[in-house]
């Protein structure tokens, strides 16, 4: 159990390190112009942010991920 937790924390930490790279120079300086009428930087920043959140949810809170497979009246709190 403890090992599984350590593994989850490690994976989250790695995701955090990657996020530090992704949300900083030089990568952010690459997103110029517009994408589908929206500023590319706006789309990329919020898109990557959302992706990071989904990754964190999958890694840290599998009960929520699995909850979609369960019946609606079950309480996961």
């Amino acid at each position: 159990m403890q090992k599984a937790l350590q593994k989850t924390l490690l994976k989250l930490g790695v995701a955090g390190c990657l996020a530090l790279i992704v949300f900083n120079y030089p990568l952010l300086s690459l997103y110029r112009g517009y994408l589908g009428g929206l500023p590319t930087l706006y789309v990329v920043l919020f898109g990557l942010w959302l992706a990071l959140i989904l990754i964190a949810r999958r890694l840290a809170d599998p009960s929520v991920v699995n909850s979609f497979k369960r019946t609606a009246n079950q309480d996961f709190e």
Binding site: L12, G13, L20, L28, L38, L45
Partner: protein, 923 residues
């Protein structure tokens, strides 16, 4: 536009609902039905988003484009380093720590002085931040009612000389709320569930309000995102804000780092994330839900800012209040009211939690140590619980009053506007001592003092004083030119570093000196013994958990400790906890408790929850006589403890290994039992096979013996049968012996270089009689080119294999129109011999079984055995010995019955042998 009375009504209904929600939460908690779910916890952490977020983000976006996002990306990333937060929670729970000052003080030897120093920094850094929230409330009222900002106060009361303004009234309501729901328990570590639920409610409210305004701006004032961004693109000054060129990436990184640190170090964040955490697993939800909250509350910031810039292009406008002024200028009363209440909820949530956190720090780490010095006869009172509560509640009032006073004094000054990030910088000074203390055992008290001292001094000089100077309170010359004209000391260009903005500049220098001093002084000075013990506990909390070594030696009196607990916790609460402690140790009466190290540390930990760890240590020390332990002694104890832990781990590992070995043994035993059953089956088969010819031999021999008159014809016939049965018996015994030899590896192989074709032909001829007896047609197919197929094998052994396969085939072909086909071919350097029959075939389930020793196709428990079950295993052993393979390909009749017609493709036994020398090249 909106009736004054209506705004007043809605404001007080909103504040009243906060009380109702908090009351509901507390009642549920009292009834044992906690409301502290993982979602409530994560939403509580969103108290991070204050009015500075609600109003200020849009303001920042109008000048800095995307730069406002750094304040939210930092916390998002920091929450991915959940290991750090989890460690903070575990340490705090184990030691019943109540605040960030308590945390740092506890780590560095429970130093009251250090706790006081941290508290002073927090108060100086945070009071202006509270003032900023009050200012936001006042400002929003001023915008809604420009002619009468005091519209919330009835005219009749306004005339009263002592009547405070609207902001003060809201501050008073918040003070009442904080006192009611934030100081319900004397023990700070007991959760304030109602308060957290109310904060979570406020978080939801401000999010919904902000998103509603965002949606209104995007789809109400524009035709969606694309339309808005196209309009922005058309104005060069605005369009450039949307491109990466507008970002100063040095500042971007600095602000991300700063906000990432602040999310852990802000007193209110520590209060919710660490102190109010009731279940570690709730962190799993917070890791993603809190960042999701931040994303949602920011998604409309830029669109609102751009719309404001487009609307007021070239004209003057107040960017920080666009959220409120935009719907107001459009005459949308509902959105205006929502914006006002959203801003109010963002401000009130922050004020409530921050005040509780600061009040705990001030009362435990500033007021309590002064009172405990003895001058006030404080320590000798019988029951101090009521007085402690009074102190904490008074502190709340004083802190809110100070915040209000700062707001009134500063007014429109720069000092207030810029205070958000300046407060972040102040609390960031805790990071080296706090995080270093969690991961570096050698970090010591003097190091922490030095680091905090340097960091605070640089913060004061490069951040706070310049904000005062820009407000016109002091001379501003030192900011750019340095004091006395020494440019290297210029507050915003220390050592000539002028490429960073003031916030990044302060962060760089303060953290550099803070961290440097912490490390250097910690290395150069020696840790005290008591510090070493607690440092080890902090650093190893994940491994050791509650099983930390009790490092204390001295003499104590149980009565004195019990009396101390009663005085500070109140007699009832103390009795309850002592009883629980005693019963956990199997002691029925608390008067029978032994004053050992465990009990002393228990008493200290219980007191820590009420008066802070530093004061608790002082109080316990006043009633016990502690013997000084040397550093070496403490280190020895810690070594022993870690050895015990290592042994325990070793034992656990060995236990796991034993379990695995037991599992293997159990499996081996099951296999043995199966082999035993097979052996019994084999014995029974062999016995049966042996008995049948023996019975026959014996019966015919007896007949010959008993009837000397028997005719010559009968006699010959019987003797023939006897000879035949004897041969069968011999064959059987030979096969058993053969197998035993193969098994034990005692076979003498006589390998020779021979051509397979003649060998197959000769072998087939030797069993020709079998085919003729059963009327079976036998076909031998050899390579058409008549070339020899050379292999290196033992001739007799290979013949044995072929005979075995052919005789098996004969057994199973139908009595009429039986057909056996043996063919030889070459492929991939191997000779391939296949024996095909048109018998019933072998079901797939038996295709591997028939090659196992003593196993035959069909159910061995019910079917009559067809042989010894050794023929095929022996054949496979032989073929494999020469580097070949033997297998069966079969499509049983049942499987080929799809069209209702029986198509018996039978079985095909195939074996391969590697070609010898030249033939390999030829193929």
């Amino acid at each position: 536009m909106i009736a004054t009375w209506f705004v007043g009504l809605v404001t007080f209904v909103y504040l009243g609902s906060l009380f109702a929600v908090a009351r509901f939460g507390d009642r549920r908690a009292d009834a044992g039905r906690s409301v502290m779910t993982a979602t409530v916890y994560a939403l509580g952490i969103a108290v991070y988003c204050t009015s500075w977020t609600f109003y200020g983000s849009v303001g920042r976006a109008t000048t800095g484009g995307f730069s406002f996002l750094t304040i939210y990306l930092g916390p998002t990333i920091m929450f991915l380093f959940a290991a750090v937060i989890l460690k903070m929670i575990r340490v705090s729970k184990t030691l019943r720590l109540t605040s960030i000052a308590d945390f740092i003080a506890a780590r560095y030897g429970k130093s009251q002085l250090l706790a006081g120093f941290v508290t002073v920094i927090a108060v100086i850094g945070i009071i202006p931040y509270i003032a900023l929230q009050l200012k936001a409330i006042a400002y929003s009222l001023k915008i809604i009612f420009p002619d009468d900002p005091e519209a919330l106060i009835p005219d009749a009361l306004e005339a009263l000389a002592f009547m405070p303004d609207s902001t003060a009234i809201i501050a008073i309501i918040l003070a009442v709320f904080t006192i009611l729901f934030g100081t319900r328990h004397l023990d700070v570590t007991e959760r304030h569930e109602g308060m957290v639920l109310a904060v979570a409610f406020e978080s939801v409210f401000k999010l919904v309000a902000f998103m509603a305004i965002g949606a209104y701006v995007v789809w109400g004032l524009n035709d969606g995102f694309i339309d808005l961004f196209q309009r922005a693109e058309a104005i060069p000054n605005i369009a450039k804000l949307l491109q990466p060129e507008s970002i100063n990436f040095g500042n971007w990184f600095a602000l991300t780092l700063l906000s990432g640190i602040a999310i852990l170090m802000l007193p209110r964040q520590f209060q919710i994330t660490v102190v109010e955490n009731v279940d570690e697993t709730h962190l799993r939800r917070a890791v993603w839900l809190f960042p999701l909250y931040l994303l949602l509350i920011n998604i409309f910031v830029l669109p609102i800012a751009l719309t404001g810039l487009i609307q007021f292009n070239g004209g003057a406008f107040e960017a920080d209040t666009l959220v409120l002024t935009m719907p107001l200028s459009e005459g949308n009363a509902l959105m205006t009211l929502l914006a006002f209440l959203g801003g109010l909820s963002a401000a009130t949530g922050m004020v409530i939690v921050e005040t509780i956190a600061l009040a705990t720090m001030v009362s435990n780490d500033l007021v309590m140590p002064i009172l405990l010095r003895g001058r006030f006869d404080f320590a000798n009172r019988k029951d101090l619980s009521g007085l402690i509560m009074l102190i904490r509640r008074s502190t709340i009032v004083v802190l809110l009053f100070l915040g209000y006073l700062y707001y009134r004094s500063a007014g429109e000054a720069y000092a207030l506007v810029s205070i958000g990030l300046i407060s972040f910088l102040a609390v960031a000074q805790f990071a080296p001592a706090m995080l270093g203390g969690l991961y570096w055992k050698e970090g010591n008290r003097l190091g922490a003092f030095a680091g905090l001292g340097f960091g605070f001094a640089i913060w004061l000089y490069t951040a706070l004083l310049p904000s005062f100077a820009k407000s016109g309170w002091i001379d501003s010359g030192f900011i750019m030119d340095g004091p006395w004209g020494i440019s290297l000391l210029a507050a915003h260009k220390l050592m000539g570093l002028d490429s960073l903005d003031p916030i990044a500049h302060t962060l760089f220098w303060s953290l550099l000196f803070n961290l440097g001093a912490y490390i250097v002084v910690s290395i150069l000075t020696r840790q005290e013994a008591s510090e070493a013990a607690i440092a080890s506990q902090f650093v190893n909390i994940q491994k050791a958990g509650d099983s930390v070594p009790r490092i204390w030696r001295g003499t104590a009196s149980a009565e004195a400790l019990i009396e101390l607990l009663k005085r500070f916790l109140g007699p009832r609460q103390a009795q309850l906890r002592l009883q629980r402690y005693a019963s956990n140790r199997g002691i029925s009466k608390i008067t029978n408790l032994q004053p050992d190290a465990d009990f002393v540390l228990f008493a200290e930990t219980q007191l820590a929850g009420t008066i802070g760890s530093a004061s608790a240590h002082v109080m316990v020390s006043s009633v016990v006589q502690e013997e000084e332990l040397g550093l070496d002694e403490v280190l020895n104890i810690l070594d022993e403890a870690s050895q015990v832990r290592a042994h325990s781990k070793e034992l656990e590992r060995k236990s796991n290994e034993l379990e695995a070995a037991t599992r293997d043994l159990r499996q081996a035993n099951e296999k043995l039992m199966e082999v035993d059953r097979l052996k019994d089956d084999f014995m029974s088969t062999v016995t049966h096979e042996l008995r049948t010819p023996l019975t026959s031999i014996r019966a015919f021999s007896e007949m010959l013996h008993d009837d000397p008159e028997m005719g010559a014809e009968d006699r010959t016939k019987f003797l023939g049968i006897i000879v035949g049965e004897a041969e069968r018996l011999t064959r059987l015994i030979n096969q058993i012996l053969d197998f035993a030899k193969l098994e034990s590896g005692r076979v003498d192989w006589e390998v020779e270089h021979l051509d397979l074709s003649p060998l197959l032909r000769a072998t087939a001829e030797s069993v020709g009689q079998l085919f003729r007896d059963k009327g079976t047609v036998f076909v031998l197919e050899l390579p058409e080119d008549q070339q020899p197929v050379w292999v290196d094998v033992d001739r007799d052994r290979l013949k044995q294999v072929v005979i075995n396969l052919l005789s098996n085939a004969v057994k199973f072909v139908p009595p009429v129109a039986g057909l056996i086909r043996m063919s030889l071919s070459l492929a991939d350097g191997y000779a391939r011999v296949s024996v095909n029959d048109n018998g019933p075939g072998i079901p797939e389930a038996y295709q591997s079984i028939i090659f196992e020793r003593f196993r035959q196709g069909g159910n061995t428990m019910t079917d009559k055995p067809q042989g010894t079950g050794l023929g095929l295993p022996i054949s496979r052993e032989i073929v494999e010995h020469f580097g070949g393979r033997l297998w069966v390909e079969s499509l049983p009749v049942e499987a080929s019955n799809q069209d209702g017609q029986e198509v018996a493709s039978g079985s095909t036994f195939v074996f391969t042998l590697p070609l010898a020398g030249d033939d390999v090249l030829a193929v």
